[in-house]
Symmetry: D3
Subunit: 248 residues, 6 copies
């Protein structure tokens, strides 16, 4: 099984860390392809960055499926372009927010999500509602910029720990979800430190794709995820055509 | 007052029709600038098209605000990129689904939304929930492709009328919202024919922007619509930088 | 265009202030008629006052429409008798809570509503849910009696400011809605002071009615807002017959 | 125990029928006082009639409590003025829609509510949501005018039976609630005919008030049902002052 | 009328207290049968205890109905096995959480539920949602073990009072529901002390059953509460067969 | 990895079929232990059967974990005793309704659940809400008794196919979930026949447990799934003590 893990921002160091987290949980026969787009923002912090990350993300997914990927993980906690990706792909596609919440919901009753900037609260709260966790999960910002997680001298670790401690107390929760792909390397340590399950979405996404592929499931093509209709694209996007790549 | 009306697809004929609908309701002192991006899909039918329409749409909004627009209407019924646009702009930005529902909700109790393809049902139902109309509005597909609305010989008119009739009966509704910018020219006739208010989102969007501008309101910049952070964009999007245009 | 703005309580000074706020945002061709009933309570603070304000309010609306008003704003933040008014009138009728939330929802993501007495929290929270803002708006009481807003020596201004500050912090909101018609004169100053949009419902109501009238919309008469059936009214209400006034 | 049952419309024959239904279930020591206002509409069909019924209804409740009633049933299925009545009274006040749903919810899983005119669907659906039955109860109109229930030659009985049959089938429900006080005499027969519990709100209201009084409960006065504040009422309502009556 | 009140745990002293509370509000002609199962846990604190209490509880209900009980109160605040009991019984069955919320909802607007251990928060919050009180009631733990309520020297009373005080303040509520059958004896005193209605579910349950029986209502048998199908039970449950007891 | 799959009813043939379905999707290194309790009902059809299945189910889970199982699938579509099982176990426990919905939600937008008897609609609809699929999934009964799925001559297959066809049409769904463990062998064929993903919960449950175990997750023990408190159990359950088995 070959799983494509797409970091939708263009920061190569973060892609490496994400790939490592993915490989650390992948089953014996699973190959992880960790990539990021060549075009787009260096990090995704809010609605605007997410929008500009989409074309590059979709291009990577099209290339990955054309190259034989059996499933896709979108490795940004706003589940960047998840619906568009599912319309494009025929293999299963999951988001890391979605996967982390699904896993957390099966082992705990109340969930604290701890993310980076406060501008991401509203988009993530929207995902929490979409995935059916409105009554069980609350979202908190730690006010750590995404890329400071890549910098060990930034103090991000201790700020994150303080945010987790505060969230567990105020929510009365029994599990934590880390709300940024850049935190993927911290889950195991934090689980030990806090004594509650602390879940990283990248790892969860890999296991969810393994599960879907293992069930022989493909993305449903008879509804809103129907294959994109053939149509003309112009301008900068004319040469760039994920759907065309896939149609081969 | 100058209102930018952006058709997020690249079909110029549809932009013209949208501009006409906008002008037909604009107040005496309101100038309408109807534009469409140079890059992107010729029509937006589903999640994938929407994603690829975003960069071009955001570019038009940045240019429009830089050129003095006081407010923006996004003239596609999936409210393409509404949150990203609000993060980008400082002037008010409204979607036509949002505006049509807001207007309908002030004059009626139950609302039938009639859109084009069935693949658009799920995205529009998502908007209905987002805007707080889950208990009041139901969405129906007429199975008319968007561009057939541009072709008077397509029979789209009579198919649409049948879909409206059926929706009113099954919903017990007292108002209709037309679920595609390409239907903007039909609202007045359909109101007369069906004896219930039939609302076009393009017109509603113009009046909502006039209202917001008249109230002196700007998009809130202290929360999730905070101005995009300065960061590097690479690849095809490097030269294209809506946020940079705006910071100008 | 002629817009009837009805203050549903009987305090003439408050009607004057409301009229002034309405005129300050009205479009060039819009005439504002600010009135209040001759019968009813001097202020509306809670469910009981609201009920006793209804007959006088409906009478003013019937008179206004008979005299040529093109639309109606009900200028009390509990949106007094909104449904009954819509059943009575054929022109559009909006409430100021409804209008303020609609405007706020188009420029911000999370909204703090700051009202007067704590006994109004439950009725306003009911409106917040009705208008679809349950996930986005929270309501706070400042414990200022309505009529103290008419008395510049009452200290109401500083109490209100403290309540707004506290609400913004606890809600993490990016806009404020003033929850009483008696605060209509404060929005502009408070916007400047707090650096977030602060919205007054009276102004918002006027612009929403202008929008609806500009769209050629009338209140839907085929559903729950159907014209009241002809029937006998007895007692103190026999001589008083809003529906009869309208039927001419 | 003395229970005041107020029919909020002015039709004396309907009050008599309501009183009879109330007495048929009242406990041994319970005295039923069935009254109707002297002022207001002859029947309540929609939002407008409800509004004009309020002053007379509140006056009857004030008189009743002053005369020693231990609890109040508001005997119209739109639960006319329930919140205002609770703010006015210190004894418990229940609505018949509320009481019927509470009873139905304790013996069945899904509930069909069958009411009179379709213009009452929206108000009753609002009550269904308010009382927490949105997922369990659906509302149907039989298109019987309220007063035709008072006329045995109207054929209302067979129309109602057809509506119940259709509702049970389409809802897959296991209980029926009769959605009009004028149907209070039919519950027992319909239960036998349809083989499912058919519940009348007037009877249910009496038993709920008996329960609340038996528990020694009074209406809470520290929140939104706080005693109306002392204030001036003018015009036709000056002489009429339910709150003053109660303050004695 | 004969009402079976089942304490689903095996602590006889608690059954006695529950019986006393039930009798203190029962109507003149109502006989209270307070029982507890011979098998099961000594107290119910969380999901696991609840599951193991079910067989004994159902056996008591079958015996009670066979012996002529006209209705049943399940006297544990997690409404242990309510749906199974309703499927088994033909007489009405109510839970004490359900009954207390129903009563509270008719006299107050916002409700604070104060229960024992924090592990019971999630199950009770589930009930609050099920009964339609998600927007009106919040649940608080006092961290008192259930059986310490049976021990006057445990200090449970003062801990409970502190929890009630804190809950009223943070919720802005106007009524309190005691979230454990073991608190049944405290409601009257606490009502006096706090000046808000404080409601005990055991008492409320008795009055609700009296109401349902007085209305001639039986549990609906055409839906999800249909009589259990005849089938073989094996093992420890073979000899024990509530449904068989009832079928006689 | 060793996964315990518990069929909570006592029908050995069904356990065998469930075990086969589980093994057909299990990863290379996963051992499946398919068991059923010795005590309880031969099938679970409705709330009552579910209650009596709990003690036997919990006993099997305790034995399984004591014997080294790394995770548990509860193989009945009402997710029998899921919360109690999670409180008992330290390894992850999933239900098959939960697992099937989670998988379906990642590849499709709208889901039709097709179950056996109509008395199971309400319990399963409750699960659909609990897992956050209220807006996406609808439940249908095929009126096939559970055990007729074990009898190839019963015609159950063609009845089920008709129910699936009807559900897809009325729901406009793009995926089907089979609502009974007894249908576990049919998913692959039905997927091919209907051209939409058809999902079996037993298989989905196995893959979800593999995912959770692969992530190193255990059931959270700091909240509502806290380890059962030490306490006395009496009667038929005294000798039977799942929690004691686990505590060793």
């Amino acid at each position: 099984m070959r799983i494509l893990v797409v970091n939708p921002n263009t920061t190569v160091g973060m892609t490496a860390k994400i790939g490592e987290a993915a490989r650390s949980v992948a089953a014996a026969g699973t190959e992880i392809l960790a990539v990021n787009p060549a075009m787009g923002p260096v990090s995704i912090e809010g609605f605007y960055d997410e929008a500009l990350a989409l074309p590059g993300l979709l291009q990577e997914i099209a290339r990955g499926e054309a190259a034989g990927a059996n499933g896709v993980v979108i490795a940004c906690f706003d589940d960047t372009g998840l619906d568009a990706a599912r319309a494009l792909a025929t293999v299963p596609v999951v988001g890391i927010c979605e996967s982390a919440l699904a896993a957390a919901g099966m082992i705990a009753t109340k969930i604290s999500v701890v993310t980076t900037l406060s501008r991401s609260l509203v988009p993530i709260e929207g995902l929490v509602r979409r995935y059916g966790f409105a009554e069980r999960a609350r979202v908190h910002a730690s006010d750590i910029p995404v890329l400071s997680l890549e910098d060990s001298a930034s103090g991000a670790g201790s700020i994150l720990r303080a945010a987790i401690k505060s969230a567990l107390e105020s929510d009365g929760s029994d599990a934590v979800v880390l709300g940024c792909a850049g935190m993927a390397d911290l889950a195991r340590d934090l689980t030990a430190e806090f004594g509650v399950p602390v879940i990283d979405g990248v790892s969860a996404g890999v296991k969810m794709v393994e599960a879907l592929v293992g069930l022989g499931l493909k993305t449903a093509k008879s509804g809103a995820y129907a294959r994109p209709l053939d149509k003309t694209y112009t301008g900068a996007l004319a040469d760039f055509a994920p759907a065309v790549i896939l149609r081969g």
